[in-house]
Structures are given as structure tokens and as C-alpha cells.
Point group: C2
Chain length 157, copies 2
Amino acid sequence: MENPSEETPPRWEGLPSRLLGRTADHARRLVGEAFSSVGARGYHYRLLATLEEFGPASQAALGRRSGIHLSDMVAAINELTERELVERAPDPSDRRRNIISLTASGRRQLRRLEKRLAECQDQLLAPLSPEERQRLVELLSRLSDHHDRRTGTLIEP
Amino acid sequence: MENPSEETPPRWEGLPSRLLGRTADHARRLVGEAFSSVGARGYHYRLLATLEEFGPASQAALGRRSGIHLSDMVAAINELTERELVERAPDPSDRRRNIISLTASGRRQLRRLEKRLAECQDQLLAPLSPEERQRLVELLSRLSDHHDRRTGTLIEP
DNA sequence: ACCCGAATGTTTGAGGCACTAACGTTTGCC
DNA sequence: GGCAAACGTTAGTGCCTCAAACATTCGGGT
């Protein structure tokens, strides 16, 4: 959205959904650029971080934990194995499964991404005071949680 | 992101950029469903609303005002003309231009979309009190503006 | 011991939004 | 008159999310 700004912005720019979208796009761009400067993208960070936090896991489990669709796991894991940030090994006790685990350079890459990501948070929230940042996070958490509950976990018989 | 929720969420879910992304995705989904139930999508609403607010305009001007990339105008306008919500007429005084204008049913569709959109804002902000909603909007506006200024309007010689 | 349902990994495809690059036409200004 | 700029158009990329179909494998119940 590289709007060369001409005249006054339309009314609908003030709608919460729109503000949320615009701000999220800014954040996505910041993070996207930071990640792509080291050959990564959002999914890569999520997977590496989830692997480090929970340890090796099957692709399906990893996908559930990191909120990535099963269909997108294959490509993402392929990209990570190409870069040797992750290893894909068959599970001897269950031949359906691949066990994904972090490599040493995967862990190093994760450190890099975390660093870049932290810098992004600061750029993103630059205009806000510490208290304001905290309040924003709190409000967003409430919204996010609320809508998670009414979509995510609905596994009825 | 239809995460069937398994175990505890990863740490990175609490990062501002991520919360923003998740919440924006929820909002996008809400609005997307509301719009698609009447055969529209985000670009359509933006264009119709901008047309009503500023009047007929060329595709380029319309694109700048609505924040839609020139390259995406063609398809979007095509979709709107197919549905007869908009008219594309050559500008007699400048043969490069098409003048886009709202039709009567375009205006009716806009009313529908606005109604649905308002309902979405309410669902989106459901867990927040009126004061909290206002504070959220204020914080997001500050962030959005700040990042607009440092990307959007940089047209140097 | 067997069968059937469930889980797993995979491929293919889709959609929305944003953006880049290239091209031919037309304008407007110098 | 010539040249830069604007306009519309096409084609293609990227990211993130999701749906549908498939073959393999596991596991629980009978």
C-alpha cells in the first residue's frame, strides 16, 4: 500500500477493522523485510521457535502447535531442510510420521530471527509510551482470545 | 488458522506484531465472510465507498484514493462492472482515461455492505467496553499514521 | 485376527491482498 | 516537435490461509 497520498483519506479508514488491517500490514511488512534479509519468512520463525520450545515433533503436531495448516507444512519444512535448519527423520515407532528436529544452525538462525523480531516490535510501537504499549497488548489479547474461542476449539461429536 | 488447540500456546503468540496479525486476521475473516455473502470483497467496498464520497473518477485517481494498487484496479473494476455496480466510460477530454461512476444498484450494494460492515465492527469489538474501544482505535490510529508517514509519502525529486 | 475409522504426510488448487515489471497509448509542457 | 509523465493493461510474485483428495499406516473394537 504505497499510497502517494492525494487529498483527504476516505471515511472508512477510521473503522476499527480497517485500522487493525492497516497496522497489521505495517507490522507484517516490517517483520517480513527483517526476516527476508536472512532468507526466512514468518512460517520459518514460527516453526523454529515452536521446535525449540516443545522439542522435536511430527509435522502434524508441529503444525497444530504453530498454527500452520497441515497442507503448508510440507513446503515450509522443505524450505527449512534445504537450508539445513531442521532435520526430517522417519519415526521408527510409527511409519506414518516424520520427526522434525532443530539443527545447530537452525538454533543459530532462530537467535538471529528473534533479535530482528525484537527490533521490529520496537519500530512498530515507536510512537507509544511503555504504558500505552502495554494497554494495546492487553486490548489485542482480549480480542484475539475472544475470537479464538469461538472459532478454534469447536470439535463437537 | 483453525487450530484445534492442543497444549499451551507458544511464547511468541504474545508479541505485539503477532497479536496484531492474529486480530487483524479475525477481523478480515469476519468482514470477508460478511462481504462474500453478497458476492463482494474488500476491494469492492473500498471502491464503492470512495466513489460515493469523492464522485466519479479515473481508475488511477480512484486507486490512489482507495489505497488500491493500479495493477489491481483493472480486475476489481471489471468485477464491479460485471455486477453492474459501476460504469466504465471513456473520458472524452482525455483518451487515456476511463471514468468510473457509481450506478444506482452500486449505491444500493454499498448500503448493504456498510450495514454488514457495521455489524462486523460490533462482533469484532464485542469483548471491549465503549471506552476501551475508543482507546484501541486511538492507539491504532497513532501507529497507522506513524508508519504511513514513513512509507507512503516519500516522493523525492 | 480382522476391519474400519482415524491420523499422517503429500499434492493440488484456491482466494485475498499487496506489489513489481513491462508495454503501448495518450497528454502536456518546454 | 519532442520527451517526460500519466494512464490503463497484462502478467507475474509473494505471503498467509484454507479446502479437497489421496495413499499409507496405526489402533481399537469385535
